[in-house]
Each structure stands twice: as structure tokens, then as C-alpha cells.
Symmetry: C2
Subunit: 192 residues, 2 copies
DNA sequence: TGGGAATATTCAAAAAGTTGCATATTCCCA
DNA sequence: TGGGAATATGCAACTTTTTGAATATTCCCA
């Protein structure tokens, strides 16, 4: 039932098709909840049968037809109820990169180095996207003005979290690469 | 097959029982891979049947007997092979707290506030633990000295990541609480 | 001496998530 | 005019993960 909450959170941004949700998960939600298309289509159907979302069939000229989902009143009520639910269970993280880093001393140092570098590239790209999204949300206002006037602040707050997470990824990656290179040099020196 | 890699990463620290691994997941690995006891016991059995780990039965005086697992040579080889494996699939995050934050404008503001505060407490506790673990690893050396002399640097690097993640959680939490309180005040003023 | 907490493992069932494919439409480019 | 990419959805099979126990030993405290 947890995916459901993420889907509802995404639908707060407005109606969306399963496809919309599946890719990017409506951009911001993707940063703290991952889901595959299959999962989302199935969950939407269940939610529809329970009256939490309603579908609107849209004939398209230049694309296959689609069904746009939006929250019903029951859906909004469910969102509200969800936020009051007791203790969010601890974050589930599964980060393969860090498992590899943990194994680096027994593993292939250069391969792990490459994996970190790749993660950094991804992080840099995300930072750029998030900064853009932030500009869009601010729409010329300062942050203080934004919080004083915006209808919704949730998406901005989660965006901030995603942004600082990726910036942190970059900072950490730099340190890690430096230290791995140091070690490579030290091992080479020892081998001489 | 991904849990398996996390288990092997944990066993690099030395032999451990299923129970050891289950709680804390050998402390550092827990920060980037979560698993329940069931998962771990089952995976250990499978790994044993494939010769990646070997079990040593330990009779205990003051506790129920246990089986301590350690990596076999095949296990070490598997760790090495794993680190060279191509592209770690994108990190899977599932953070209920951020889903709630995303929903805050439709949901219960005070409940979400409390959830953030709780997360911050957890984060603060983790920061303390991580700082301690770091002191232990450094054992009086500076970081430069550590990287010059330590057998293994992987655990230290992952520890750094965990530490900065939690520090970041705290920083973000402070901002989020401040903004939510601002909003509470603004809504109260509007209601007058 | 009795009960709760911690250690240590395991089973079974349900829920959730992944993978691979199948389908259909349309765009764009060569 | 043919093929690849993007849009859009869905099925079925499979694996993984979660949940909720049950079991057994021992520690510690009241």
C-alpha cells in the first residue's frame, strides 16, 4: 500500500496517465520513490476500483489514446489520512554503488572508480535538472516570497531534499575519487 | 542476487552469524542496504550451498548456539567479480517521509511536522554513532595517515557517505520545519 | 521464581516488485 | 517505404520482500 501513497502524491500535481507517472514519476516524486511501469498501471487500476482515482479517456490525434487519472474526493481524503498515519518506517535504501565501494579493497579498484565517476555524472545532471525545476517553481520570486505566497510548498521542500542529496553525492564522490587515486599511487609505489 | 552482494560486503568485516548480520547489518552496510532477518538467513543458506560462504558451528555457554559464516575463497572471488560488474542499476530509494512532505499541503501539517522532527532525531543519533565509528577507524590517526596506512578504505568511504547523508538530513529538516512553521503562522493569520 | 528482553534460527503465507514480452499508434529520418 | 524511437498500455511468470508468527536458550532484574 505504499506505492499507492507515492502515486497519490504524484497526482497532486494534476492528472496524469500511467505512462506519465511511469517515466520520471512526475519528476519530483522520482527522487524518493522508484517504481516500474507495471507496478504503476496495476496500482492505478486497483485505486480506480476503490474509487481513489478517476480515469478520463483522451482521444489523441498524434499519439495513441490514453487514460488520464486524477484524484477523486475520496482520493484527497486518503491523502490527508495518509499524512496522519503514525511512524513512517525507516527509509529503504538500496545503493549498489556503496556496496561496491565497501568491497573495493578486495575488488577491482579501477572498476569501482569508474562506477563512482559515473554516479557523479548522473548526480551532476540531476543537480542541473533540479536547479531548473526550482527556478520554474520560484518563477522569479525569492524563496521567502515563494513560501509566503505559493499554494503548495510540499513539492518545493522535496525538491530541496533531492537537490542537496545530489550535491552531496558530488561532494562525496570527489573525496572518494581522490582517495582511491591516492591508494592506486601508493599501491603502485609499493610494487616498485 | 543483489542482497547477496551486500551480505558479502558485510562479511568482509569478518565472520558473523545471521543474527549479527540481521541487526545492524554489520553497522556500516546498513546505511545503504536494508534487509530483514528472514532475507539474510535464507540468502546465507543459498550462499552456503553454492560454496560462497562456510559456516562454523559455535557452541555457546551463555547464549543459544549459533553458526558463524565467513567468506570462502570462492566468496572472495565472487566479491572481486561483483565489483567489475557493469552498471550498478540506479539507487532504489523509498522514503515515506518525503512522500508525506510532498502531500503536506493537502494533508495534516502538524503530523508531517512531527514526522520530520522524528526523522531529525534519528538522523542526529546516527550522526553520533557514525562519528564514533569514525574515531574507532581512525584510531588516533589523521585522515591522511589513515588512507596512507589502512588495510581497507572501503568501509571508511561508505561511512563518510552515511555521515554526510545524515548531516544533510538534519540541515534539510531544519529548513523544512522552519518553512512549515512559517506556513502555520501564515494560515493562522489568514484565518483571523 | 517468574517474566521480560536479548540472543539465535526457522517456517509459511501474503504482498510487492521485476522481467520479458506483446500490442498498437505515430513520428521522424534516411 | 522501411525501420527505429517514442508514446501508451497490458499480461503472465517469476523472484524478492515483507509480515507474522513459532521455537529454544539464557540473562537480568524485581
Amino acid at each position: 500500500m505504499a506505492l499507492r501513497n507515492a502515486v497519490m502524491a504524484a497526482l497532486l500535481e494534476g492528472e496524469a496517465s500511467g505512462y506519465d507517472l511511469a517515466k520520471g514519476f512526475q519528476s519530483s516524486v522520482a527522487n524518493f520513490w522508484m517504481a516500474t511501469p507495471q507496478q504503476i498501471y496495476r496500482e492505478l487500476e486497483r485505486m480506480e476500483s476503490e474509487g481513489l482515482v478517476a480515469a478520463r479517456f483522451v482521444q489523441q490525434e498524434r499519439r495513441p489514446n490514453k487514460r488520464l487519472f486524477s484524484l477523486t474526493e475520496a482520493g484527497y481524503a486518503a491523502v490527508h489520512a495518509y499524512t496522519t498515519e503514525p511512524p513512517a518506517k525507516p527509509t529503504a535504501i538500496r545503493d549498489e554503488l556503496l556496496v561496491k565501494v565497501q568491497c573495493v579493497d578486495v575488488g577491482d579498484l579501477q572498476a569501482v572508480r569508474a562506477a563512482i565517476a559515473q554516479r557523479m555524472e548522473l548526480a551532476a545532471a540531476k543537480v542541473v535538472r533540479f536547479e531548473r525545476a526550482r527556478e520554474r517553481l520560484l518563477a522569479g520570486r525569492t524563496e521567502d516570497e515563494y513560501f509566503g505566497t505559493a499554494e503548495r510548498i510540499g513539492p518545493y521542500l522535496t525538491l530541496l531534499r533531492g537537490l542537496s542529496l545530489e550535491q552531496d553525492n558530488l561532494r562525496w564522490g570527489e573525496v572518494a575519487l581522490k582517495r582511491l587515486d591516492q591508494r592506486t599511487a601508493a599501491l603502485a609505489a609499493r610494487a616498485e
